[in-house]
Symmetry: C2
Subunit: 463 residues, 2 copies
Amino acid sequence: MLGLILTVLLGAAQASLSAPASQRLVEASLREGRAFEALTELCHVAPHRLAGSAGLTRAEDWAVAWLRDRGLENVRKEPVRVPRWVRGPARLAVASPASAQGTYLPLLALGGSVATPPAGLRAPLVIVTSFEELRGLGERARGTIVLFNRPMDPTLADPFAAYGAAVEQRSRGAVEAARAGAVAALVRSMTLALDDHPHTGALRYEPDVPRIPAAAISTRAAARLVEAARGGARLELELQLECRDEGEVEAHNVIAEITGRERPGEIVVVGGHLDAWDVGQGAHDDGAGCVQAMETLRLVHSLGLRPRRTLRCVLWTNEENGLRGAVAYKDAHESELAGHVLAIESDRGGFAPRGFETNATGAAFQTLEGIVRQLAPYGAAFLRPGSGGADTGPLERAGTNVMQFVPDAARYFDYHHCGRDTLDAVHPRELALSAGVIAALAWSVAELELPLARPELPAAGSR
Amino acid sequence: MLGLILTVLLGAAQASLSAPASQRLVEASLREGRAFEALTELCHVAPHRLAGSAGLTRAEDWAVAWLRDRGLENVRKEPVRVPRWVRGPARLAVASPASAQGTYLPLLALGGSVATPPAGLRAPLVIVTSFEELRGLGERARGTIVLFNRPMDPTLADPFAAYGAAVEQRSRGAVEAARAGAVAALVRSMTLALDDHPHTGALRYEPDVPRIPAAAISTRAAARLVEAARGGARLELELQLECRDEGEVEAHNVIAEITGRERPGEIVVVGGHLDAWDVGQGAHDDGAGCVQAMETLRLVHSLGLRPRRTLRCVLWTNEENGLRGAVAYKDAHESELAGHVLAIESDRGGFAPRGFETNATGAAFQTLEGIVRQLAPYGAAFLRPGSGGADTGPLERAGTNVMQFVPDAARYFDYHHCGRDTLDAVHPRELALSAGVIAALAWSVAELELPLARPELPAAGSR
């Protein structure tokens, strides 16, 4: 009903100056927003910007210049030590039987994978859909290449739930395969699409488990291998990965502010992560989150507004393969943490708004829900209990209120971590809507009369 | 909160047979739906299917065969007299000044437009943004070509509201221009996109006003003309349209049913319109609505369900330029109208669900709201007061409960009535989500213990 009322209010061709600032921010984003233009620049300046790469440095310099040129305050880079991992060439082929040679098997090494021997490795393929099934193979898994082939469940209403239920195959597959005696691990790409785009992502090794090479193959490639192995045919694969671990180098979190007019020591953070995988352009993941945060400050500044509290844009670094930026931000700002009223993260793409998620509780939750309710006409219709996301995780664990932007998710995993995550996958109006509602939310929290109470911690053992 | 609970319930990899049928319908659509496959067929069998065309006949035959092949009941065609209007070639160019000759001006005649003289016509251009501005020109508009150039307002939260505020330029522009003495009318295309795709649509002539030719030009073409006319430069345009009115021919509404197990004379209609403009493939407008309706019955049938009331799929004809199918359906089913419990229309594209709109009032509204609430996990989060749409309009005016599917609208007017409305503009998961929620809604209403009360008519004069 409020949505209807607002829709009617919005019937005026342009909001008058007497309209609430939050509404003026969304309308300015829809009318003359700059988020899509900024994303266009980022995707061309630094399409590949993995931690430790020259592309990430270019992205940092671009972001600093963009923020300074828009007249924002305290624009700076804060140093972060990050890993430098380099993908190198990759090759996967069926060695036997001869009838299956030439099967098209597009692949991407998983982030952090070790290399194969320089000449590659050759081993029989086993296909499983769970770690339990793999363990049940016993000695039959020794010396093999294991393909983890459990699809994301399309019937789950939320694709992120389907991702959460499948992604252990990517993150833990190499460890589980090595424990079973395998020589390499493959994983069916984490996507609901059936296509030939492999989707990379990070893996984790464990100290006492041999490090074996691991790669993602496209969903169609996985289907081809299943078909070739039908009826118990024994496939041998050849895998060659030339990944290199090149130690650590310096990267940066990029920060900009609008200093609060009354309570400058109280801070509302809005941010995304500037690093991206070295495929596609990181347009949705997380170029969109970066330009939404940058645009939030630009919109406020361009309307001549100065909030009660400080608005801070944070572009975290190394979210994809280390989370060092998130940890470094929290460490560097330890003395300010009590003044962090809310940290808003956007890392689910630049799609049309659906709502928000937060760890806030009690009266703080209700206050935030009241603010979100004003955004319903623009599609952000709910606030639900949850978390902020990966980059606000360290802040959340330190007792800060965090919040996550939740856009429509139907298309997200078509693009996530693969070559399709390019500018043309982002719709200008959807990005303008999302930047506008994030700006309106950040502004409204920064303007609150009273700060939000910090979240009640759950009872010990329940997290 | 209910959404959260359902999300948790949905955590099971596949819904058990004990899950509510509405949930099983959505999950079946997501897991093994056929809506996208059906839309692929329709877009290839009959991409152009304007009333009276051979394409529309092919579409009818395809739909009848598809519905019969899926084992549905009472599959039939009901005759409707429709207009046959043929577009013919079109050409628009700047004749003078010489500096502006060659300006790129993509155009599409408006549906129903008369032709220009065979050799075309040449006249000065005037550009206005409202009918009032045109009237203010007085004699200066005589003998001109009028361009109606008021953009859709991007700041309106709902693009349909922006369309509603701008579309009179297309539907009434020719009449207003003729009254001012102009020889032709052009209209800036109804879209929020700035591109070179002209968007057609119907115009209306009036009995006592001269019929002048009218066409839509792309938004970039409109911008080019504004630029060329800057500083008062006098432009002359040449326009040639070869449209033909070829009288009336017979077309059909296509109907299929699942007969109700307890109350076969009570009917829940679900439908879209089978005709489409003769550009693009009518994938969103309204191929999507057709396959959602067809898929609704297929899903119910494929799960072995038979509803308490009759479920009827109606593919109306001639929505775009006459609405004859909607009127013919109401006339042919006059004796059954009291048994029409609800008519659900989908004609806003195959995007992700957002909610529904209805003319239902009082307890009926509350009952429908309770059903819609179950669909929130899939994105259909609201039921708002409103109408059913164009094709359910005659039923609504006859006192029937009607309902309209409301999907996300950010992209709709990129495709509406233009060459971009092709299969690749439809996302398979979004279409499966939308077909699933429409099926779940239709099923739930057909299963209600008691029929819905008919809507309270508003007080005289308020409509």
